[in-house]
């Protein structure tokens, strides 16, 4: 039941098949490919390396206890090359999460560090000889008295 004629012949990865779990043996796992690896060249290189490994010694690289064959590697590569296939594989895979900084750990680390050396307030020294040189020499000056004994202007 559940298998009706469909224009799109793409298989349903979630279809029930006894013993098969769609979330194991995904294209990423078969190719040992990090979903976040960016760039077609980098991906191709990784796939090439994987293909070689499987060709030479597949039994050293089982996926969930299963030894892989060349056909599976090729099929996985094809799946990821097609955008819809890649998207499906992504849906079946946990987004990689890097271990992130733990604020509590950071705070403890910071607590263990020595505080920076205290230099004290910056000393401000006044060199009076320099200051004296900055002051203009007194010069005779005429000035009009602002006020006289007789009263204001």
């Amino acid at each position: 039941m559940g298998g009706s004629a469909d224009e799109n012949a793409r298989e349903n990865p979630w279809a029930w098949q006894a013993g098969r779990n769609p979330y194991r043996g995904t294209a990423f796992q078969i190719l040992d490919l990090d979903p976040d690896l960016a760039g077609r060249a980098a991906i191709k290189a990784r796939v090439r390396k994987r293909r070689q490994r499987i060709a030479r010694s597949a039994d050293r690289f089982p996926v969930h206890g299963r030894v892989l064959g060349a056909a599976e590697v090729n099929a996985a590569e094809e799946t990821l090359a097609d955008p819809a296939g890649r998207l499906l594989a992504e849906l079946l895979t946990h987004r990689p999460e890097r271990p992130g900084p733990d604020p509590a750990e950071l705070a403890e680390e910071f607590a263990e560090t020595d505080p920076p050396e205290s230099i004290g307030p910056a000393r401000i020294g006044i060199d009076r000889r320099v200051l004296a040189g900055l002051v203009p020499a007194p010069a005779p000056r005429e000035f009009v008295p602002l006020w006289t004994e007789e009263g204001a202007h």
Binding site: R24, L91, R98, P103
Partner: protein, 424 residues
């Protein structure tokens, strides 16, 4: 100035409030393992993501819970698997509806591929998701139908309560029964009625409200009934089938609410047979008024419902007497009430349904006329109506059976004594 002690106290407070979201994601992901044996779920990951996590949290839960459900179901632990199926579908339904999630996926695809990915590609995968995710439950329901119907039913319940759009759910339930409906059709054509009815009943145990199954069952039962009623003793023969089918299609009728189209047409015919069976087995043989009233009310209701479901029922050859029978049953119900001495109001209540029939037939007319004449309080309209009904019987060329003629004579005499010499 902040000293070490203060910072340590600060760290303790941060811990008391729980770790940051980054740490949840990192820890949970790490608990899945790495390399060729990285697992899609772990108890630790489930615990961590259930209580926190960053922007991909719902997806992580969908993957982890769903993967665990597959493992449990494969191991044969259906009871343990059920909450995981339910939780996983709920998270997937949330993701299906979340456009921001699909936008992030789209961005990611373009970032890793180094090339544009069309919005249509993403949209197509998104649109197929409900159907793809519901498919395993259809397979499992079919697999367990015969030997573990409750387990099969629980998978259909998962589909119905998945949270996906209604159209996806209806589509999945139609997919579930596509093959069996084709098989049922062949069985009916080849006259294997008992087998097909049992087969459909078994499927209805798995999806009780499935409209396709209900319609097919009504159709198969009708084809069988239409053959059986040609022979003597037909009412006793079809009664158990009629009642069994009525019970089996009730959930679908409830779910649909107001039946339409072919479902309504089949239900109409079924209600007709239910009415006929009661009439034949109960109201016909009823010897005292209380029993007659109960039986005719039941048969009358079935026949009225048949007409409500399909206004054109009388056009169909085998059902052309539906109005006539409805009129008779309701007129007899009115008669039975009158005989029990019930107030005119109760009598009129039953009578008006008979009067509403456009083709009541001679017996119906005569029963109605007698009821009208025998009202406690006879209104002028009552006598006029009774007279009209009597005239119609008299004018009916097919109403020449001796019993009808005698009954008509009785009605005419009653009318004459009711109005004295004004009526001739």
């Amino acid at each position: 100035m902040t000293d070490r002690a203060t910072l340590r106290a600060f760290a303790a407070r941060l811990r008391a409030h729980g770790v940051g979201e980054d740490a949840v994601d990192g820890d949970a992901y790490a608990s899945l393992g790495s390399g060729g044996d990285a697992q899609p779920w772990s108890a630790r990951a489930e615990e961590l993501w259930a209580s926190g996590g960053g922007s991909w949290r719902t997806h992580h839960l969908a993957v982890a819970l769903h993967a665990r459900a597959y493992d449990l179901e494969t191991a044969g632990d259906a009871e343990a698997a059920f909450p995981y199926w339910k939780g996983a579908l709920a998270h997937w339904a949330e993701l299906y509806h979340d456009s921001a999630f699909w936008d992030r996926m789209h961005e990611h695809l373009e970032a890793v591929g180094g090339t544009e990915v069309s919005a249509a590609t993403v949209q197509e995968v998104r649109e197929r998701l409900p159907r793809d995710l519901l498919a395993p439950h259809l397979t499992l329901a079919a697999e367990h139908r015969v030997h573990d119907p409750l387990r099969a039913r629980s998978h259909v319940d998962l589909v119905r309560e998945s949270g996906f759009p209604r159209s996806a759910i209806l589509g999945a339930r139609a997919d579930l029964v596509r093959e069996v409906l084709a098989e049922a059709s062949r069985d009916v054509e080849e006259g294997r009625f008992d087998e097909v009815i049992d087969l459909l009943a078994s499927w209805l145990a798995v999806d009780p409200g499935n409209p396709g199954l209900a319609r097919a069952l009504l159709y198969a039962a009708r084809r069988h009934i239409e053959i059986v009623v040609a022979a003597a003793g037909w009412a006793r023969k079809i009664e158990p089938l009629v009642e069994r089918v009525a019970r089996l299609v009730l959930p679908a009728w409830d779910e649909i609410g107001t039946p339409e189209g072919s479902f309504a047409v089949e239900l109409a015919r079924h209600e007709y047979w239910r009415g006929i069976v009661v009439r034949e087995l109960e109201s016909g043989p009823a010897s005292e008024p209380a029993a007659l009233e109960q039986a005719t009310l039941r048969s009358g209701r079935h026949l009225l419902r048949a007409l409500e479901l399909d206004r054109d029922l009388a056009v169909k050859n085998m059902y052309r007497d539906v109005e006539q029978l409805a009129a008779e049953e309701w007129a007899l119900a009115a008669t039975a009430r009158q005989r029990q001495g019930l107030p005119d109001g109760h009598v009129r209540d039953a009578l008006r349904r008979a009067l509403a029939m456009s083709a009541p037939g001679p017996w119906g007319r005569l029963f109605m006329a007698r009821v009208l004449i025998n009202m406690h309080t006879v209104l002028p309209d009552d006598l006029a109506t009774a007279r009209r009904l009597a005239d119609e019987v008299a004018a009916d060329p097919e109403a020449n059976h001796p019993d009808i003629v005698n009954a008509l004579r009785g009605v005419v005499l009653s009318l004459a004594s009711a109005r004295g010499s004004e009526w001739s």
